[in-house]
């Protein structure tokens, strides 16, 4: 990947040899490739590099590692936010796994992630493709289309709320005028789930659009012309040329969006608070509500730990796959 990018900037031979030399730590300053770099010099490099990552590793350990251990401990104890209660073993997990709301949240988390990832991908890719066409004020439009992602979620959740929440809000009134009857968007479980998913797509398509247009920028126009000469239709061009060429970037954008969706707290919490009757609770929201709403710290944190285990497992697997995709 990198060699490819770099080679467009300077001569390929030059960079490639530089790369391979650097990779083997083979030196500069006239040393030939057969003479290995003296170990001391090499470890200097290693020390500098380690110092350069040190602050971020420290922060990751402080803000992720330490709390993870703390949370595991907390999930094994009774008690509240301030005071750790007696050790109860796995009872908090037991409570969660026998709670129907938990399983409902698991199901909705899956739905939310799938809709969030693929819905926003379809919209984002569609817009990215449209923005490739020749048009006026393209950059202006592009910036405008990114606004749902730029404007803070607190603000857009508020305005979505205003648009759909009460019977006198604009969207329910329009729906009524169109003959759908009185729809209480955020008061009936099914509709609330629908709105939350639409809202998530609306929030996330800009990210997908950015990823897609970056990938599309690398697709050569000539390929299409050649295929058009051979009589391929628009769908075929898309299916056989565009999609395969952006496959790698698409895959990575799905993974990232999946990670963003599964950990997403504020867009659901600020729009519906997880309600009505927990219908729009994902695991994150359920965990928050259990800890800070029901004051059941143990079971709430246990939900977080279950999520943590699943996320880490999934991300390690995905990470391996990304590495493979990158190599091929």
């Amino acid at each position: 990947m990198r060699a490819k990018v770099a080679s467009t900037k300077t001569g390929p031979s030059n960079v490639l040899s530089g790369l391979s030399r650097a990779r083997r730590g083979v030196g500069l300053g006239g040393r030939s490739e057969h003479q290995p770099r003296p170990p001391r010099r090499f470890s200097n490099r290693a020390i500098t590099l380690s110092l350069m990552v040190f602050p971020s590793v420290l922060l990751v350990i402080l803000i992720y590692g330490y709390p993870a251990v703390g949370a595991v401990i907390q999930s094994l104890h009774d008690g509240n936010l301030v005071q750790l209660g007696p050790y109860v073993g796995l009872q908090n997990y037991w409570t969660d796994l026998h709670n129907p709301v938990f399983w409902h949240s698991v199901r909705f988390t899956v739905v939310y992630c799938v809709v969030g990832v693929f819905g926003s991908w379809v919209v984002g890719l569609g817009l990215a493709l449209l923005l490739r066409r020749r048009m006026h004020a393209r950059n202006f439009f592009k910036t405008m289309l990114l606004l749902p992602w730029v404007v803070p979620v607190v603000v857009t959740a508020t305005s979505w709320n205003w648009l759909v929440a009460t019977p006198s809000s604009p969207v329910p009134r329009i729906a009524q005028d169109l003959g759908f009857g009185q729809l209480l968007f955020l008061d009936s479980p099914g509709l609330a789930q629908f709105i939350v998913c639409v809202y998530k797509i609306w929030l996330s398509y800009p990210f997908m659009m950015l990823m897609a247009s970056a990938a599309l920028a690398g697709v050569e126009e000539q390929l299409y012309e050649a295929a058009r000469v051979d009589g391929a239709g628009a769908w075929q061009l898309f299916r056989r040329i565009t999609l395969p060429l952006i496959a790698r970037s698409t895959y990575i954008s799905w993974i990232l969006m999946f990670i963003f969706c599964i950990g997403d707290f504020q867009s659901i919490y600020l729009l519906t608070g997880g309600g009505p009757v927990s219908s729009t609770s994902t695991l994150v929201v359920l965990s928050y509500v259990t800890v800070f709403g029901d004051f059941q710290t143990g079971p709430g944190v246990a939900i977080g730990i279950i999520m943590l285990l699943v996320s880490v497992l999934v991300s390690v697997i995905l990470f391996r796959r990304i590495k493979k995709v990158q190599v091929s």
Binding site: V15, M52, L81, P152, V153, V154, L163, L256, I305
Partner: protein, 293 residues
């Protein structure tokens, strides 16, 4: 900041290629696309327009749209602590951006140039950190920060924000550094530059778009966070804007005019930042640097 490498890097690794800029050949398809996109933009941005409209409308929802007023803004600025919250938000966000850039730039360099198992391990660590559900760290961090007197404190919040931006910011930096030929640093090393000096003087100096991308990302994240701020901050003089905005809902009848006026205050800074800097912003390249090399 002078830029010894001209144009070639200005666009970022993944700037979309503007479609063929040929001469206008019959305006109709061009106008058709423009119109299509215009309509899409107008529909998609309804929630944003609504916010602005209501902010400038007098109280009482039913009044006609023709009335324009600044009364909502004068109320929230004079009667509530919006200015304090704005200051708090700015302080936390700018601190986050600054520290996040300083931490992630060298880390991104290692991710971009490093070629060892340790670097792979670091890449995996970042990936796990990014997929770490923040909800897990909220409670233990709250307990820890309470002991350190960092709860209800903007500094504590900034520390958390920095670490939650680190992964993406580092990937963005690395993605940009990837576009800068190693040959340039090698030349500097030959001239006697140390590894770190080579990084600062050669790579970082030519990576303004990469740095700005990471900075913008950190800005947006820190500015709009609700989760940590809602748990950590208790006294309303310490609130950031998103938490402050929520206080307007606690009354029995929500005054939408005030809510929307504050909403406008919340959304203007990120829009300004993004509006001015978006030509530098590129997130598309991060795929290449995710897993290291």
């Amino acid at each position: 900041m002078s830029n010894p490498i001209p144009v070639a890097f200005e666009e970022g690794p993944a700037a979309p290629r503007g479609g063929a800029r040929t001469k206008k050949t019959g305006t109709s398809p061009q106008w058709r696309y423009t119109l299509t996109v215009l309509i899409i933009v107008l529909v998609l941005l309804i929630p944003v327009f609504v916010t602005v409209m209501l902010a400038f409308q007098p109280q009482l929802q039913s009044t006609s749209h023709s009335h324009f007023t600044l009364q909502n803004f004068s109320y929230v600025f004079s009667q509530t602590q919006v200015l304090t919250w704005l200051r708090n938000s700015l302080a936390v966000t700018l601190a986050t951006v600054l520290v996040a850039v300083c931490v992630s730039a060298p880390a991104g360099y290692v991710l971009s140039r490093g070629r060892s198992r340790a670097v792979s391990g670091y890449a995996l660590l970042l990936f796990i950190a990014q997929s770490f559900p923040q909800i897990v760290s909220v409670v233990p961090l709250f307990v820890l920060f309470a002991k350190l007197n960092l709860d209800d404190n903007l500094l504590g919040l900034a520390i958390v924000y920095v670490s939650s931006t680190i992964a993406v910011a580092t990937w963005m930096m690395a993605a940009y550094f990837d576009t800068i030929p190693v040959a340039l640093e090698e030349a500097a090393w030959i001239d006697g530059c140390s590894l770190f000096k080579g990084f600062v003087r050669i790579v970082l100096r030519n990576s303004l778009p990469g740095v700005l991308s990471a900075a913008i990302f950190a800005f947006l994240l820190a500015w709009s966070d609700y989760l940590f701020a809602s748990v950590f901050l208790r006294s309303d003089s310490n609130f950031t804007l998103p938490i402050g905005l929520q206080t307007f809902f606690s009354t029995n009848s929500t005054e939408w005019g005030y809510v929307m006026a504050v909403s406008v205050v919340v959304m203007v800074p990120p829009i300004i930042v993004f509006g001015f800097l978006n030509r530098y912003f590129s997130i598309g390249g991060i795929g290449g640097s995710l897993a290291g090399h």
